[in-house]
Symmetry: C2
Subunit: 168 residues, 2 copies
């Protein structure tokens, strides 16, 4: 039984370590958005590249889509799908104000973190909603954990771009 | 015993999922470096920001430092420490050629992946070498797994920047 308890504690440490990495990235990005401010977020991260506000809306839309993908419920902001997922920046869509998007960002991340903390280590290894039971039997790595990790690296990818908007 | 085996398989699936995320990022970056090419790597990712070749050297140096940090052995390229870790870009250091750095990049990542695959799930939860046993008792999240995850997000951060060098 001791062994069993040790191993159970190990799986729990695995999921905790990964949730901590997610939380760290969310915190860094939130602080970055706040330090950049609304006016600077309207600028492009580099000439002819995405604007800060597009990337903020994109990140909100991607995190919002994690709710159904991980089986936590429906999207909060389906109206962000067209301007920030389907369409590229500068496609003529009107964007919500940056501070409104930042509120959405905080809201969806709070909701996700609460749901993450309620999943057991075993549930992290269950399939996510975009893979069929049949495919999952062949590809067991398409689990909820892989979604958490890929969305963590996705944040980091855009963090590296958004930091270019910071004034020295 | 069945339970025990199930849980052991769960810890193994956790570490496999995370190693897979690492491997995916390494592959994406390697392909990106190859598609950008030596000449474009000399350019800045955005006006007055880091050059591609600096970021390549920086990534090699950070991955090289994982060897001692995770207890796998000594650094291969200690001479990269000054130009790519201690000093900022454009500090007057002479850089190795980009294709030489790309060879280092492939070499160190092969070496790391081999060592990762030899670690048991329990070993991933052991302390890394930059934390004392005393501090680790208080902060058990400072484990080898957290190094793997933070270096995976680190790659992604710079990937988001290096992609700006790609021609449309």
């Amino acid at each position: 039984m001791q062994d069993n308890a040790d191993i159970q504690s190990a799986t729990s440490n695995f999921s905790k370590t990964i949730i901590r990495a997610w939380t760290t990235q969310v915190k860094r990005l939130t602080e970055l958005f706040e330090s950049i401010g609304n006016a600077e977020l309207q600028k492009e991260i580099a000439p002819q590249k995405n604007t800060g506000v597009y990337l903020l809306g994109h990140l909100v839309a991607v995190h919002d889509a994690m709710l159904p993908l991980l089986g936590f419920g429906k999207k909060n902001y389906p109206h962000l799908e067209k301007p920030f997922l389907a369409d590229a920046d500068k496609s003529g869509n009107e964007f919500p104000a940056a501070d409104q998007l930042l509120e959405y960002w905080k809201q969806v991340n709070n909701q996700l973190l609460k749901a993450f903390n309620e999943l057991s280590p075993d549930q992290w290894l269950e399939k996510h909603e975009a893979v069929s039971a049949e495919d999952f039997a062949k590809e067991p790595h398409r689990n909820k954990l892989s979604v958490l990790i890929s969305r963590t690296t996705h944040m980091s990818y855009h963090h590296g771009q958004l930091v270019l908007l910071k004034k020295k």
